[in-house]
Symmetry: C2
Subunit: 340 residues, 2 copies
């Protein structure tokens, strides 16, 4: 079941003109008389002609659509990023193809292979926690597919990258906890292999070291799927709670982990911040209304999406392969509320 579209041939037949002439009129070429152009445009509008984008893409070797791969759409951070991407893309006549990896390297690869079948002109990706093998990504990149990384980057691939200032964000959050008098600060981190996790870990360590607080390994726990499953956060938190010297503050390394910790504390009836303080990365705009209102590090998600799409546009529309790439680091915002 498909819709029978009107083509350039239909117009040319009706108007007794060649398809070349019709095409030229529609593309506003100079080598055509103003009368025939008007004639064609009027008729085209009348029968509601729409160019077949597949034919155009085939001919021009450009699809005017891009691919976006994130771990999960229904995540406040990523949905805001996508919002930013879409807003710039649609302004520039690009269609956005979304797929989610669900933190699975396998699904990520599948989506990637499908999207890259000469189908997209560029790709914006935030790699999954599982991703270790970036052979395929590297391959299509070397073949010339413009790629921009957002948030979770791969160092080995040289291209534009848009990230938040994770180091500083983590540093600020940890320092804030220290300033508030907390000294046993635990980190509930995302998967250790992730670029953002590494950077945030460094920021956390830097703040502790600066305050001459020793960094203890057992105060750092990991959620290998970024808190996608609550059980993951639960067991991470439980391992912290079983410690002989329990933490007095938690720094959570991702959106889902932050809210997961909050849920854990509520379930276990742990008072925040009296028993345990909590701060974490989050872009959920309800954190302010939580009980207690949550202190968070907020990333400029929408702006990051905008930046990524803008950079991708510049790559897609440049004639030569670009040589110089930039890593745009956007600053985070520390919102201090009642949970710390």
């Amino acid at each position: 079941m498909k819709l029978s579209a009107v083509t350039i041939k239909d117009i040319s037949r009706e108007l007794n003109l060649s398809t070349s002439t019709v095409s030229r009129a529609l593309r506003d070429s100079h080598e055509i008389s103003i009368e025939t152009k008007q004639l064609i445009l009027d008729y085209a509008r009348k029968i509601n002609y729409k160019p077949n984008r597949n034919a155009q893409s085939l001919k021009e070797k450009k699809s005017h659509s891009i691919g976006v791969i994130v771990s999960e759409i229904a995540n406040s951070f990523f949905s805001q990023v996508i919002n930013g991407i879409e807003s710039i893309a649609s302004k520039n006549g690009y269609t956005v193809n979304i797929s989610q990896s669900m933190e699975s390297a396998e699904r990520e690869l599948m989506n990637l292979e499908y999207l890259t079948s000469s189908f997209i002109d560029g790709l914006i990706i935030s790699v999954s926690t599982e991703t270790k093998n970036h052979l395929y990504l590297k391959e299509v990149h070397e073949k010339g597919l413009p790629i921009v990384f957002v948030d979770r980057v791969i160092d080995e691939i040289e291209t534009h990258k848009v990230i938040a200032d994770n180091f500083k964000g983590a540093y600020k959050a940890t320092k804030h906890l220290i300033n508030k008098g907390y000294s046993k600060i635990a980190l509930v981190s995302n998967h250790a292999g992730l670029s953002i996790a590494k950077e945030r870990l460094e920021g956390y360590k830097a703040a502790l070291s600066e305050a001459k607080i020793p960094v203890k390994d057992n105060m750092i726990v990991f959620c290998d799927h970024g808190g996608m499953l609550y059980s993951e956060v639960e067991s991470a938190m439980n391992s912290l709670m079983r410690l002989r010297t329990k933490p007095d503050a938690i720094f959570a390394g991702s959106d889902k982990i932050t809210t997961g910790c909050m849920r854990f504390m509520k379930n276990k009836k742990i008072r925040v911040p009296e028993d345990l303080a909590l701060i974490g990365f989050s872009n959920n705009d309800l954190t302010e209304l939580l009980n207690p209102p949550l202190s968070v590090i907020k990333q400029p998600a929408f702006e990051m999406g905008e930046a990524a799409m803008t950079l991708l546009l510049s790559m897609m529309e440049s004639k030569r392969p670009q040589q110089k790439f930039e890593t745009r680091i956007q600053s985070t915002e520390l919102l201090i509320r009642k949970s710390t």
Copy 2:
């Protein structure tokens, strides 16, 4: 800047075969010897051949991609719906093209026209609050484009629809308020023209009437952009607060409105539920952790997305235009917490 893809011609040239033979091998046709098939498949894998999807789409008149138009991606309800759509789509080899209307009828139409340039095989749409004129939508529908409505439907267009049981949801919420002893129950509704707003209004009225509580017009206020702007919710709430007989409970008609009301009450230091109770439609999974935990009517967003995509699939893959359409009504969940 584009990637130079390897084509069927490259394979045929290298292997001294015709393009037809190569195509048949790749498509696993029967009229080909097992040896040449293996030869071709091996070589194709070696040079990492990927069929050009634009060429395939042009030939088959099927793009294997669908369009999704929602008001805003960064909205918990819609992002969950999209999640459901994407999960089914990717399983069936379909790519999902997303665009957002931002509650603007103009942007919606723009996106629609762009997507329907022989580019998508089907469409899933939740119309914007502004949408009044559905001429274009009706036109492409009559031309044969399979369409499925989710959440916000248009009655005049006969096709599959997936909605939540808005009437019952609103009825249950209102009845719950009544049972709790509230009698001055206000409704902060979405745009009056929206199908969901109408249905929820009816549910609200039904519950009140059943309890012999008169329905008062000044207790029903509207947010014409669904609460997309906080100011909208603010002025709606303010008008309720200026009433000589203020409401003792609020029933909020959409996700953004619900959280907007919550924000309003926090800002105005209105105690919930002592001064004013609050219940509303919401799919944000942090409502449970709010202060106070929010009573909500939750829609099965993910499942609605799945259902919509499944129905769309059936339309796209049926030979003949379908005659019988179903409106799938999925039941909502009433989660009673501390705010009522």
